[in-house]
């Protein structure tokens, strides 16, 4: 298990836990981040910028700080 922020680009993973406060948790779940869902990182912005994450048919961008709240299992 590792935080999403450390997942390699292109590697698939399953969300195993979301450790976030209430507002972030709601925002994440509204965009489809749920335990058990498969995701992958499409790309990272230069200069340690945000990640582009693909979850099913949705693409989401989020900062590393927020991505580190999502624990994943690479598959």
């Amino acid at each position: 298990m590792q935080p999403l922020s450390q997942l390699e680009t292109g590697q698939q993973a399953v969300i195993s836990a979301i450790e976030a406060d209430e507002s972030l948790f709601h925002r994440l779940s509204a965009l489809g981040f749920r335990v058990g869902k498969t995701l992958s990182i499409m790309r990272r912005a230069s200069f340690n910028g945000p990640l582009q994450v693909r979850l099913g048919t949705t693409d989401v961008i989020l900062r590393c700080n927020e991505a580190s709240r999502i624990q994943i299992h690479p598959i």
Binding site: A17, D21, L24, G36, A45, S46, F47, G49, I61, H73
Partner: protein, 596 residues
């Protein structure tokens, strides 16, 4: 093998607890009745191997969010030996509902109250023994973070699991949850019949475009090139439109209004023409730019590129307490502050919007540029001119950066930066036109009165008392200039320039015109006259002040409208005036001290 399900509300530390118990043995797997994968782990419990399943956190057993359906489907398809229900001790008054809902299912339950340490600090005491007795199930307080109370919880769980002979009966649970599943079926049926949802993002065109536009090295240059082109488009198309509009307004004035008011007293003519009518003209001057700006903005936004721009620029902007979307607005501010400030509406977080609105008025907008080009031509050689202009642009970026850094703690953005990246779409012309029209209407409704009143006020200040020449030292504006002499002298701004700065409150476009009225001459003669009156250090100080202080009445009116706060409007005015004075002071006194 015994099966234990871990259940609880979101953010109760359920995953932390699961990780603590399962260690490294956790794996993902699928289960009958549900489509998402769940984490599970084989654990040693009271000498036997048991399987622990981490169910999604839910607020309501009878709700219809995806997670709530997953939990119900799991329980109605998979028999379990025990439910461990995890609640947050500090929020027990809200969360106990979930336990009571689960209890009605008749499954064996251990209630585990997490965050015992936090509850203690908050002064919340829970009488677990009495609560357990009343609920008729074991209640244990733990702190999953520190592992406190965990052995006891596991011991109780082991005891129940090993004593228990029968598992839960999915069929009877299904019966109890019948009403919910009926609603689910009904929902599904209605959606299937009447709603069409595409299963994939059409084709992979979006992916192909993103490969280029979000490329690691090409992305940023392409973004700047795109912004430059849009910028050029707005102002090359907008410039002639503004000029044409000004020409028409001038024509109406000279051939219709002036003859009409020919016989009326001078003060009334002045008030109506130089006050009211000029005010209307000032408002009208913004209309073409606002229409064009929002035409372009709605294309950028609706096409899906704005979120991409945010993706590309975010690393830099995050350091300033802003986000990538703010950068697009800041860039647009270099054309015109008014639509850029209106455009900050795309940000949901109010603190971040306010911070962006505080930063935008410091950009070197096209109206300020006119003043600088005039001053530079009058007081600097052609060799030095580009360097002077470049240093002004640099100063603009520096003051923006400084303001953002200084105020980012005041306007701390609490909202996480998480944006959906939509597929590329073609916006419909109707959408674009509608947006431009609505924005103009909004601007005219809200800002026009404010701007017209402001123009009338400046006209009064620069034309009264009526026995002195307009815009001279004798007018109220001149007297204000003299009054503020002690403040303006140390930054090298004389009384004539001070009057021009008062005009500049209305709009920077009229500063050069004001100088012409103040000195009583125009064009080359005015430039020559100014070169004899002030030196380059004074001119530079004047330009720095013009760059940083309040851009125009329209910007102030827009800030007031968009922030819905007079206090914020005043903060913006006071901060920009203060910063302008300090920068000019440092420059002027520094240059003089160096012997220039």
């Amino acid at each position: 093998m015994k099966r234990i399900a871990l259940l609880g509300m979101p953010n109760t530390g359920k995953s932390t607890l699961f990780n603590r118990i399962s260690g490294a043995s956790a794996r993902v797997g699928n289960w009958p009745g549900i489509t998402v994968d769940l984490m599970s782990a084989k654990i040693l419990l009271g000498g036997h191997i048991a399987e622990l399943i981490d169910l999604p956190g839910i607020y309501d057993l009878h709700g219809f969010s995806e997670d709530e359906q997953v939990v119900r489907h799991f329980l109605t398809n998979n028999p379990v030996d025990l439910l461990i229900v995890l609640l947050n001790s500090t929020q027990i008054e809200r969360q106990l509902s979930l336990l009571l809902q689960l209890k009605k299912l008749g499954a064996p339950i251990v209630l585990v109250l997490n965050m015992a340490d936090e509850a203690r600090r908050a002064g919340i005491t829970i009488n677990t023994e009495n609560l357990a007795a009343e609920l008729a199930l074991p209640v244990i307080q733990i702190s999953a973070k520190y592992g406190e109370g965990l052995p006891k919880a596991l011991e109780v769980a082991a005891h129940i699991v090993n004593e228990q002979k029968a598992t839960t009966n999915p069929k009877s649970i299904n019966l109890l949850l019948q009403e919910d599943s009926q609603i689910e079926h009904e929902m599904e049926d209605l959606i299937q019949k009447h709603v069409q949802i595409p299963t994939t993002l059409g084709d992979d065109t979006t992916d192909k475009i993103d490969k280029i536009l979000l490329h690691k090295w090409l992305g940023l240059p392409l973004f700047f090139a795109a912004m430059f082109l849009l910028f050029q488009f707005i102002f090359t198309v907008g410039g002639p439109l503004q000029e044409g509009l000004a020409w028409v307004l001038d024509l109406i004035r000279s051939s219709l209004l002036e003859p009409l008011l020919g016989s009326s007293p001078a003060w009334l003519k002045g008030l109506l023409l130089d006050g009211v009518y000029n005010g209307i003209a000032t408002v009208a001057a913004f209309v073409p730019i606002i229409i064009l700006f929002f035409l372009v903005m709605s294309m950028v936004e609706d096409s899906g590129y704005l979120s991409r721009a945010a993706f590309l620029m975010d690393a830099l902007m995050a350091k300033m307490g802003l986000d990538g979307r703010g950068f697009v607005m800041m860039l647009m501010g270099f054309g015109c502050n008014v639509p850029a400030i209106m455009g900050t509406r795309i940000m949901r977080s109010r603190p971040m919007r306010l911070l962006t609105m505080l930063v935008i008025p410091l950009s070197l907008c096209s109206a300020r540029l006119q003043v600088f080009i005039f001053m530079i031509a009058a007081l600097f050689s052609a060799k030095h001119a580009p360097l002077v202009l470049f240093s002004l642009y640099l100063m603009s970026f520096l003051t923006m950066f400084l303001t953002a850094v200084l105020f980012q703690n005041q306007y701390k953005n609490a909202e996480p930066f998480i944006l959906e990246l939509p597929p590329y779409r073609f916006p419909t012309p109707r959408q674009i036109v509608l947006r431009g029209w609505q924005e103009v209407k909004h601007f005219l409704n809200r800002a026009s009165k404010f701007i017209i009143l402001g123009v009338i006020l400046v006209w009064l200040l620069t034309n009264f008392p009526s026995n002195v020449a307009p815009a001279s030292i004798g007018t109220y504006a001149g007297q204000i200039g003299v009054f503020f002499g002690p403040i303006l002298d140390p930054i090298g701004i004389n009384h004539e320039l001070a009057i021009a700065l008062i005009f500049g409150f209305v709009a920077k476009e009229i500063v050069v015109g004001a100088l012409a009225v103040i000195y009583g001459m125009q064009g080359d003669a005015l430039m020559a006259q100014m070169a004899t009156q002030i030196d380059w250090v004074q001119a530079m100080s004047f330009m720095l002040f013009t760059l940083i202080y309040t851009p125009c009445l329209s910007t102030i009116a827009t800030i007031r409208n968009e922030s819905k706060s007079y206090a914020f409007m005043w903060l913006s005015i006071v901060w920009s005036l203060g910063l302008a004075w300090v920068v000019s002071f440092v420059f002027y006194q520094g240059a003089r001290a160096l012997g220039y």
